[in-house]
């Protein structure tokens, strides 16, 4: 099944870099959201989204809050989530894993790292 990504980041530049990286590794299907609230709206309205790539630090609803909201939702609670963030401290990573992200990427990343993590998530789910 083709993957359709929801790329969530408040930085336009970062959304574009993630999207470009996805295209580079052969994934052309994606939609974008500027924060957690917009992401939840897109998830509710678009059933074809089957993978979330989210930043952590965002205004309104943060990436971590988004992860918790997704995981507590019956409809899309099991959707794979990859956190892509500048937060590289051990306690941050543990907090994100406790919130049930499937994998974790620390910025700056290469398209290759993104590919590895996506494949790892897809193969284990």
């Amino acid at each position: 099944m083709a993957l359709k990504f929801l790329v969530v980041d408040d930085s336009v530049t970062m959304r574009r870099i993630v999207a470009n990286s996805l295209k580079t590794i052969g994934h052309d299907l994606y939609v974008e959201a500027g924060d957690g609230r917009e992401a939840l709206t897109k998830l509710i309205s678009d059933d074809s989204i089957n993978f979330v790539i989210t930043d952590w630090n965002m205004p309104e609803v943060s990436g971590l809050e988004l992860v918790k909201a997704i995981r507590s939702n019956e409809k899309f609670g099991s959707i794979p989530i990859l956190m892509v963030t500048t937060r590289g401290l051990k306690e941050d990573i543990i907090e994100a894993l406790a919130a049930k992200v499937n994998n974790y990427v620390v910025k700056p990343f290469t398209p290759q790292i993104l590919k590895e993590k996506i494949e790892q998530i897809v193969s284990s789910s």
């Binding site: 980041d9 336009v12 994998n103 700056p108 398209p111």
Partner: protein, 224 residues
């Protein structure tokens, strides 16, 4: 007779106490003088402090605005670079397709193969441009953190100015700068190419995956 002796003793004792008090007072006068002089000297100092705080507070909005301008300028510049990168990527893909068609038409030519290898190398280079461009997001978070600190300083200086105003030392104008209400940033954001943080994340994810797998095995055994 006995009673009048006791009264005299009391009077002498009180006179002695009074003498001690005057002696103490004489010693205290120069100290009080020094304190008064010190307070006299302190007033202009306090006024200077007041001026400095007022001056610093008035510069804060400008500093904050300049930092915001830097963030916006780097974002615009990064977007422009990404536009160019996208155009280049399209041109390279076009070039690659044309070179592939030529190879199909003329067979496995050595020069064509070299050209295709070079195109592939350029393509990788263009893709890799996006990695250092992520520094824009990282630095903008650092700048947000600086602005947050500036905001705290402004609030504290503002409170001090209000104190001065209440004490009638100097009339103080209201200096305000509206910082965005919702700021979300990572003050520890770093641009590191060492992969140290990524390795840490990988090991923690793997640890968690192993634990999950083990608990799944345990569940299976519990069922059978």
């Amino acid at each position: 007779m006995m009673q009048s002796n006791t009264s005299f003793e009391n009077i002498f004792k009180k006179l002695g106490d009074l003498k001690d008090f005057f002696v103490y007072g004489q010693k205290l006068i120069p100290i009080l003088h020094k304190i008064l002089n010190f307070m006299h000297d302190t007033v202009p100092l306090l006024e200077n402090v007041n001026h400095s705080i007022q001056d610093s507070t008035s510069k804060i909005p400008k500093a904050a605005r300049q930092i915001n301008n830097i963030t916006n300028a780097t974002e615009v510049a990064t977007t422009e670079i990404l536009d160019i990168v996208d155009e280049l990527a399209l041109d390279i893909a076009d070039m690659q397709n044309k070179a592939e068609s030529l190879r199909k038409k003329y067979g496995n030519d050595k020069d064509l193969n070299t050209l295709l290898a070079t195109i592939e190398k350029i393509k990788d280079g263009v893709i890799n441009i996006s990695i250092p461009l992520q520094v824009q997001d990282i630095t903008s978070q650092q700048l947000f953190a600086v602005n947050h600190m500036i905001q705290s300083i402004q609030e504290r200086l503002g409170a001090l100015l209000v104190e001065f105003k209440d004490k009638d030392i100097q009339d103080v104008p209201d200096i305000k700068f509206d910082f965005p209400d919702e700021l979300s940033f990572n003050a520890n954001a770093r641009y590191e190419k060492t992969n140290k943080s990524q390795s840490l994340a990988d090991s923690l994810v793997n640890e968690k995956l192993k634990k999950a797998t083990q608990s799944e095995i345990d569940k299976l055994f519990a069922k059978s």
